[in-house]
């Protein structure tokens, strides 16, 4: 689960990381009030969970409350990569001297939390990694020992911070690390970490991604989920325990198992189709869940064919068949559907579908080709 910039920074601040004074506004008038309280120049920043807000015009500087109000008026309601801006963060502007990067992730290869710092802050760190990897300094944290001060010193020296700032930097690293560990994050990032003209460090932008599997022990963090940032379909899928990602193609896919779902998308593409989504109904799905999944797929107006690929193990093919018919019974559709069922109770499943006059296939290759043909025919 991704957190908004203002949420991430508030968490960082709880761990002693210095952040700009500021507040969230949902109307231009509120933005004016916040800017008035802060005084001086402020940054008005759209709060949406996508990258590249700046380039899209979603971040503006304002020199007065009136300017802040105007900027908020332009930003609120903006569509940035499909996300409608409903909140802005109004922050006191930093007295920017230098921009650093500081971040940490769960490093799969090392099986450690890895802390990264760079003197190239304020830009996309992945570009830095691609262009000048030597400008990213890394230290791996032993899970038993935690982040140690000498490691933060290695980072501070690596990004060229003068000695006077090592202690500040160490405290920020430690705070970010504690925030990371105690929130069960998979990523925590300050970009830019600004060195101000007076030498003080300030976390001007913040980003945090939490481990969904650990949210059960952080009800306070789970409550931060911004429902506006999910599409209604994504929300329905999540609440039904389905794993769903919308894509740009025309062939809806419903599969049990993440690997098989990806493979089904891949083979669809191989035969010239384009998958409209990733959708994993998981193991042992009952008819209700299957029906919910099908409704989600059919909500997408671009879908002009649906491919079901079920390899029954714990999942029973007859339950899947019943779920399909249930959804179609509630909301009939003309979208052609190809079903491939193998495994537990596949004979019963196929018999149920035969009555409904759906196309069935023996192998995944056949099924994919039939779905692609149906989609092309419908287009």
């Amino acid at each position: 689960m991704k957190l908004q910039e203002f949420q991430s920074k508030r968490i960082f601040a709880q761990y002693g990381v210095p952040i700009p004074d500021g507040d969230v506004a949902t109307t231009p008038a509120e933005a004016r009030v916040v800017a008035g309280r802060l005084g001086g120049t402020v940054a008005v920043k759209s709060q949406v969970l996508v990258g590249g807000r700046g380039k899209a015009g979603g971040i503006k500087l304002a020199k007065s409350p009136a300017e802040a109000e105007a900027a908020a008026g332009r930003i609120l309601g903006m569509n940035i990569k499909g996300m409608i801006v409903k909140k802005v963060l109004v922050d006191a502007a930093a007295d920017l001297h230098k921009e650093l990067y500081l971040g940490m992730v769960i490093d799969r290869g090392r099986r450690r939390v890895t802390v990264m710092a760079s003197s190239e802050g304020g830009v996309d760190i992945e570009e830095v990694a691609a262009r000048t990897p030597e400008k990213i300094i890394q230290v791996a944290v032993d899970p038993c020992i935690g982040l140690k001060e000498y490691q933060t010193r290695d980072l501070a020296m690596g990004v060229g911070l003068p000695r006077e700032q090592w202690a500040q930097f160490a405290a920020i690293c430690q705070g970010l690390y504690d925030a990371f560990m105690e929130s069960d994050a998979t990523l925590a990032e300050i970009n830019p970490l600004v060195v101000q003209r007076d030498g003080k460090l300030l976390a001007v932008d913040g980003k945090m991604v939490l481990d969904d599997s650990a949210l059960y022990r952080h009800p306070d963090l789970a409550a931060m989920r911004d429902e506006d940032e999910e599409t209604p379909e994504e929300r329905t899928a999540r609440l039904n325990g389905l794993s769903y990602v919308k894509l740009d193609g025309q062939i809806g896919c419903m599969v049990n198992g993440a690997g098989l779902a990806m493979a089904t998308m891949d083979i669809t593409k191989f035969y010239g189709g384009a998958p409209a989504n990733f959708l994993d109904i998981g193991g042992g799905a009952k008819a209700d869940k299957v029906a919910a999944a099908l409704r989600i797929i059919l909500t997408d107006p671009h879908v002009n064919a649906v491919l079901f690929n079920i390899f029954g193990g714990i999942t029973r093919c007859d339950e899947v068949a019943r779920g399909i018919l249930q959804a179609l019974g509630e909301a009939p559709t003309n979208v052609p559907m190809v079903v491939r069922l193998v495994g537990t109770n596949d004979i019963e499943g196929r018999a149920i579908l035969k009555k409904a006059k759906m196309m069935t296939a023996e192998t995944l290759m056949e099924a994919a080709q039939m779905a692609v043909a149906a989609a092309q025919h419908a287009a």
């Binding site: 799969r108 690997g259 990806m262 891949d266």
Partner: protein, 289 residues
Amino acid sequence: MSILVNKETRVVVQGITGREGAFHTEQMIEYGTNVVAGVTPGKGGGWAVRNVPIFDTVREAVDATGADTSIIYVPARFAPDAILEAADAGVGLIVCITEGIPALDMLKVRAYLDRVGVRLIGPNCPGLITPGETKVGIMPGHIHTRGSVGVVSRSGTLTYEVVYALTVRGIGQSTAVGIGGDPINGTDFVDVLRMFEHDPETRQVVMIGEIGGTDEEKAADFIAQHMTKPVTAFVAGQTAPPGKRMGHAGAIISGGKGTAADKMAALTGAGVRVARHPGEIAEMVAALA
């Protein structure tokens, strides 16, 4: 021969009285697995499905029954504890089916297991099977057939799909191992490839990867340097967009790394036959058999 498990394997089921634990215990026993004990704290002294004796702790189960392998079906919030309990009780192999264990928990658990030298398969995996001998997992047993192809995979149902296609063509498997879809797990491709390389029965290997991480790239390095047996691979997620988690916690392209294209290129470079879609795998294996 086979790797990791065979008909001598003595299995203890942690979480045997749960819905999943009970169901799969029956399935395993039906397949021929030697399930010698179950563990559910607070229910020791009773009997689970098929008259498997229940113990309160893994240590008691091991002491009383000589169990050497544990399979774990307990819910995610109790699973790290269950893994550590099994490791401390002296089993040599732990198979954790449970999905949704927090990554930071697994970081600590894996560090501990490395220290004490106990092997974990999973978590979030279907387990493993040596066809005709024993099944320590949740895969449908009947789709497997005994033979000389070693299978190792990060996915569940996609593995079944591939195994089924092999079986349909009359190609049997030595052992099929699901290593799981989580970012931090107990066993990676290289571990299993090494075992297959040393297993006399295994004559060739199928490896099923997916997007995310660099496990497939490491496997490619290992294959290039150490494998004499042919490997056929498939990498799921060629159509997956960056930044989106494709079901598995580990299946996410992040920071431009972990794409299927990169992995396929690395494997091809290591001399691995790489299938373009899952339907090709069995054909490619058959061509070598």
